[in-house]
Symmetry: C2
Subunit: 299 residues, 2 copies
């Protein structure tokens, strides 16, 4: 039987192909460019970037499989012990859609697995709130979660609302949320195989959750004011990723590949002093839902 590690890696590699092809079709103009890279300590990855497309101004789909010695920084940041590690993951940042799924293994000096866990999630960071899209995105995620365990969606939706927060901005969320889980360890409730299946199903659901929104909205027109607001909101995304996001900071502090980590940063961004949308405007409507997350799907 194939190991969990092997199955996970095979799945995310294939999924990268599937997602890139689907996004290229939606863009109708631009193709992803690929960079293969190696990690000095062991392993490497395949970063694919789309830029200046018809639909996608900048987007990245990255798969990586890294391994090596557990460093002191890793011990502290991941709260683990052990001699060696393996980690694989797929990361998608197609503003305003984000997803990340990963699998970790920790080994003792003999190479025996002493710890392993799954983590990941996906969220939406739109610049305007279209309730129909929010409901579609969250319904898709709830359906996938419910197939595994009905407690997952409410718990992971809450995790997401509590994680993607700019605490320095009065608990403003970066977007309208999604799901987020971490430390998904095999236990009496869920075996490793079941966690693997759940992670695969979630990762596969990115296209189901995101692409219909792209297709419905990609023809919408926008003016300079809309673009301005988009860049203000992107600023908040940058603040979250660089100040708070554990994955980003972990990558930067453990000598990850900077360009693959920071592919998440939006292409053009604006930082205004004390910018606030006027009450009652569509901009304000989005802002309010970032300040007070809503339930998008009835349970």
């Amino acid at each position: 039987m194939e190991t969990i590690k092997h199955q996970f890696v095979q799945h995310i590699r294939r999924l990268q192909d599937v997602i890139c092809l689907a996004l290229e079709e939606a863009d109708e103009k631009t193709l992803f460019k690929e960079d293969l890279w190696e990690r000095p300590g062991g392993g490497g990855g395949r970063t694919r970037i789309i830029q200046d497309g018809n639909v996608f101004e900048k987007g990245g789909v990255n798969v990586s499989e890294v391994e090596g010695l557990v460093t002191p920084v890793m011990k502290q940041q991941l709260n683990i012990s052990g001699e060696r590690f393996f980690a694989a993951g797929i990361s998608l940042v197609i503003h305003p859609g984000n997803a990340n799924f990963r699998y970790f293994e920790i080994y003792d000096a003999r190479g025996t697995i002493t710890d392993n866990w799954f983590g990941g999630g996906m969220d939406l960071t739109p610049y305007y709130l279209i309730e129909e899209d929010a409901v579609h995105f969250h319904s898709t995620l709830k359906k996938i979660c419910d197939e595994c365990d009905p407690v997952f969606y409410p718990a992971y939706k809450k995790n997401c609302d509590e994680y993607f927060v700019n605490k320095h901005r009065g608990n403003e969320r970066r977007g309208i949320g999604g799901i987020f889980f971490d430390h998904g360890r095999p236990d009496e409730k869920l075996t490793a195989i079941q966690w693997l299946q759940f992670s695969k199903d979630c990762a596969d659901s990115f296209l189901l959750a995101y692409l219909p929104i792209v297709e419905r909205r990609k023809g919408m027109t926008f003016d300079a004011g809309n673009k301005y607001w988009q860049e203000i909101r992107r600023g908040r995304y940058v603040e979250f990723n660089l100040v708070h996001d554990r994955g980003t900071l972990f990558g930067l502090k453990t000598n990850g590949r900077t360009e693959s980590i920071l592919m998440s940063l939006p292409p053009t961004v604006r930082f205004d002093y004390n910018y606030k949308p006027a009450p009652g405007t569509p901009e304000d409507k989005l802002w309010q839902v970032c300040l007070s997350p809503r339930e998008w799907v009835l349970s």
Copy 2:
């Protein structure tokens, strides 16, 4: 006799007026707007912002005087003990010129000063290297330092080169440096009065160091390619401030006033995947000097 604290506060308040007036004159169009704010735990500040000027796209000059209980986060981040604190500072971010000067006092339960120190510095983050400007900027700083102690300029220039570094980008500096000092505590070499004088002289020298460069260059024309490169470099500035800058992170984690802290972020920014200037171009010339800092003044 006036306390050190009082003298420092008076000085930075007056200096804020002087600097804002001088920058308004250089801009010839736009005036600073002022926000007075109070800190819930004690103290407050005066933030002044200039936006969409003739010369200055966005700039801020902030003075703050805050006080209160020493929190666990402060103990850890500042490596101090004590019951209460007072801190005052002036912060200028007039891209590409930056300066910050501050004074801290720590008190025991009876209100007696148990620790006090000065810190600060200024640096230049130009988008193109004009050697004459770099020499002028550094010469001005060296002169001020030398008047106090000839060991200061080389030591503080080195501090600056080692501090304003994007370690996640192969030790790329955010600009062409300047001076940076911290934990300037009264000791057998320098009394508190002498530290105060040095800090005041340094802060006063911002206009001497920066304004002649603005005056010489403000009429220069630029094209879309120059603007593109400016926004790429500003992205590096954002990365430094949000990922590495102790002052920014300290402010955000101790419930500082977010808008005054993040006034430092440049107005429009661009994050490209794996952007590298072509070898031999003026853009590359600036990049190279960020990778390998130079000595601009002979000692």
